[in-house]
Structure formats: C-alpha cells, structure tokens
Amino acid sequence: MSASVLFDAPGPKARVRNVIYTVVGFAALLGGIAWVILRLNEKGEFDPALWDIFNYAGIRQNILDALLATLKVFALAGVFSLVFAVFLCVARLSDHKPVRWVAVAFIDLFRSIPLLITIFALWVGILGSLTPFWALVVGLTIYNGCVQAEVLRAGINAVPKGQKEAAYAIGLRKSQVMTLVLFPQAIRSMLPTIISQLVVTLKDTSLGFMILYPELLHSARLIANNTPVNGVYPFVQTVAVFGAIYIGLCLILSWIATWIEKRGRRAKTGIKVASAKEPAASEVAQASGTTVLTVPDPRGETIVDTTPDSSS
C-alpha cells in the first residue's frame, strides 16, 4: 500500500496544517543540524588546518592502502563465502540424514555466535596461528557462508516443484538436477538478497579494527591518533571522511541489488525475484522456519510486501 492510502487528499485546513508542520519540521531538522554545527564550531572542529591533513600525500596514500585492504578482504570473503554457501546448502538439502544434521548444526551454531567472537577466537589461535588478515577472511567466510546457505536454500525451495520432477523425469542425475536446474533458478531469484548480504559482509570487514588488521576503520583511528594539529586530534574529521567512504561503498552495492531486482521483476519468467531487502547485520532466522527473507511465491501470486513505496 502506498503512503497516500493512509491519509486523505488534504483539504484547505489540512493543507494549511501541513504547511505549518512542514515549516516546523524543517525548522526542527535544520535547528538540530545547526546546533551540532554550532557545537562543532565552538570546539574548533572547522579549523581549516584540521581538514588540511587530507591534502597530505602520506595520508591520502594511507587511506588508499586501507581502502584496498578492506576491498581485498571483502573480495576474498565474498567469493569464499559464496562457494562455502553452495557446499553448505547442498549438504543441508542432502538426502543423507547425517550430512543434513551436520550442516544444520554448523549453520545454526555459527549464525548464533557473534562474528566478532569468531574472528577473535580465530585470531587468538583456535586453529593455530592465523594472521589478522586470514582470521578476518575465515571468520567472515564461515559466518556469511552460513547466512548465504540459508538464502540459497530459501531460493531452491521456492523453485516450483515441477522443475525438479521434470528434471528427474528426463533422466538427470541428482548432481545434474542441482547444477543445471535448481541452482541457476535459485541464484537468479535470490540475487538481490545475496547482494544485500554482501553489503553486510562489507560492513563487517570493519570488525578487523578489533584484531588490528589495517583496514579502513583501523587506519582512521591511526590517522586520528597520529596527526594532531596544534594539539587537537582530528577525530571528527576522520570519522566524517571514512564514514562517507563506507556509506558510499555500501550504497553502490545496495543500488546494484535494487537494480537487479527491478530488472528481474520485468522479466516474465516462472519464478519471482526476491525483494532487495537488506538483511540486518546478520539477519538470523534462528533455527528453521522463521526465515525473514521474503521467499518468492512459487504460484506467482502478488506478494504485497514487495510493492515499492512511493515515499522512498
């Protein structure tokens, strides 16, 4: 339902009231922003010298290195977690009970442990000595692999039953049914959700901060701590710059997800494409059953949930 269903087309009185609200609302919004800016100014955070540090070649190089370090972890963890997810998903849907149980236990276990603790344990040495880089990559891979496996499973379950039956009927083997029929359709329909989860992976690379891996956040802290300007540490400035970098990266990925979702909705094929809702930092559908992902409806009925909101 679009936002306009919730209220009437405004009459003369309501229009006046809306104008008043608009003025007051904007005033409040601007007032809040102005207050923050005033406080920042009072503390001298707008001193050009404090912002000038980002013109130093060394600091620019630092930021670039950190960005590359973050992207490196993200790329590796992203690829590994997807590969791992495919294996876990196959195990989860296996016909052999023990394999299925192991997969279920593994997925449930690692989805309910905070990623930070997994990474910390890996770093301290639960699997021998890992460098911060590999601790981060392995931790992200395990955790996101589990989440992505559940996403894939939801996708496979949403493929109409007839597809699988038809594939078996023409004599394909189990592995062929999976690779040729089920996975392609599942991946296509779940792509928006998979990418949304990749956004989470990207955000979670910032946990490398805790185990001293020199990614963006870590270098932000270093820069803030090591370049005092006239005795003032430029925390506000670095947070602003690095926050903008993170938000930019995540928004690009989110837009890709939304774009694919829109593109998929246009195509008139059997199964629906899931909406690109961004899973919460770990969107755990605990145990089974309460999956949060909007599973595409196999019968092709409208899912009201996915209607775009005019206000957004």
Partner: protein, 215 residues
C-alpha cells in the same frame, strides 16, 4: 576445563552485561523504529525525508563506525559526561532502529488496503488510522522479522565489549589475556550466546502464537 568454574562471577557479570545491553538497546530500537516508520509514511514531507535519511544512513554504516562516533566524537563535541553503557546503548539502539523501522514499514505495507480506506472513510485522521487500525494489524507480520533483528542485536552488543563495556566478548578477551585456552573460553561463551538467542527465539514464537488470528 576449569575456565568456567574459576571465573564464574566474571562470566555471570558478562552474561548480565550482555543481557542489559541487549534489553536496553532493544527498547530504544523499538520505540525509535516505530516512530521512524511512522515518519516514513506520514503526510508531512520533512518527516518523510528525515525517516528516509535516518534509515539509509544507519543501514549503510558499519556498527563499528557508529561506536567510534559514539565514543570519540559525541563526548568530545556534544555531551561530555555520558558513561560508556549509555553510549553503547545509543549506538546499538540507533543502528537497530533503522532495521526495525524497515520491518515495521513492510508490516504496514501488508495490511490490506481496505483497512486504511475504511478507517479514512469513517473520518479518522492519519495518527488515528495508524494507532488504531494499521499498526495493531501490522504487529502480526512484524513479529517474525523482529525476532531475527533482536537476535542480530544480541550479537552486535559484542562490539560494545570491545569498547570497555562488560559483556561476554569483554570476558572472553580478559580471560584470553589471562592465559586461558581460547578453545574452552570460546565454547562457554558460545553456550551463553546460544542461551540468549534461543530464549529470544522462544519468546517471539510464543508471541507469534498469541497474536495469531485466522484471517
């Protein structure tokens, strides 16, 4: 094997710390989330803009960055004397509120059109429509995603442990520095988190059954 027995009081403190952080942040997140979701569908444009900005900014920022802001920028610029618990609750609560707002908004979208239309046709205002008709019905669809959001919140509070709050992650760090075997610490901490997450899961299942009405 004796990590747990030797440090029972520390573990208890950490467990309670995690519970306290989760509970307080959940409260903040629910209140803010419902308000922001209301803003996003409201007839007043600046509120809609504010709601959209809030959700977009917070959903695309790593929680760790929010913690940096909360612990290094906020005390320096805005409020100098807040203790670390309040700051951690603010960071976790604000972050989660964006996800709650999205869940509530999609819940609002699943309420059949006729409901809001009927409410309007008997002359209800926007706030009345929301408060009396739409939100109560949206609750039913919002409960399952909320449960996973809160489980995610429970795990996110671990980050607060890295910023000098006493919680389970903090305990594991302390014990690991004391030279205990990380494997045993990991197992016990995991068990503690499993207890919390399964408790939340069970609680929400119960809630779901209570709210279940044949439609």
């Amino acid at each position: 094997m004796n990590v747990l027995l030797d440090n029972l009081s520390l573990f208890r403190e950490g467990f309670i710390g995690t519970l306290k952080l989760t509970g307080a942040s959940a409260l903040v997140a629910i209140v803010l989330g419902v308000i922001v979701a209301g803003f996003r569908v409201s007839p007043v444009p600046p509120l809609r803009i504010f709601g959209t900005l809030w959700v977009t900014l917070l959903r695309n920022t790593p929680l760790t960055l929010l913690f940096l802001v909360a612990f290094f920028v906020v005390p320096k610029v805005l409020f100098p004397d807040l203790d670390s618990f309040l700051l951690a609750v603010a960071a976790c609560g604000f972050y989660t509120s964006a996800f709650v707002a999205e869940a509530v908004r999609s819940g609002i979208n699943t309420v059949p059109l006729g409901q809001a239309e009927a409410a309007r046709s008997i002359g209800m205002t926007f706030t009345q429509t929301m408060r009396l008709i739409v939100l109560p019905q949206a609750t039913r669809t919002v409960v399952p995603p909320l449960s996973s959001i809160f489980i995610a919140l429970t795990k996110n509070t671990a980050i607060a442990g890295a910023f000098n709050n006493v919680d389970l992650f903090n305990v594991s760090k302390t014990l690991s520095n004391d030279g205990y075997d990380i494997t045993m610490i990991f197992i016990w901490i995991t068990l503690a988190y499993l207890i919390v997450t399964y408790a939340i899961n069970g609680l929400f299942r119960l809630l779901e059954h209570r709210l279940e009405v044949a439609r």
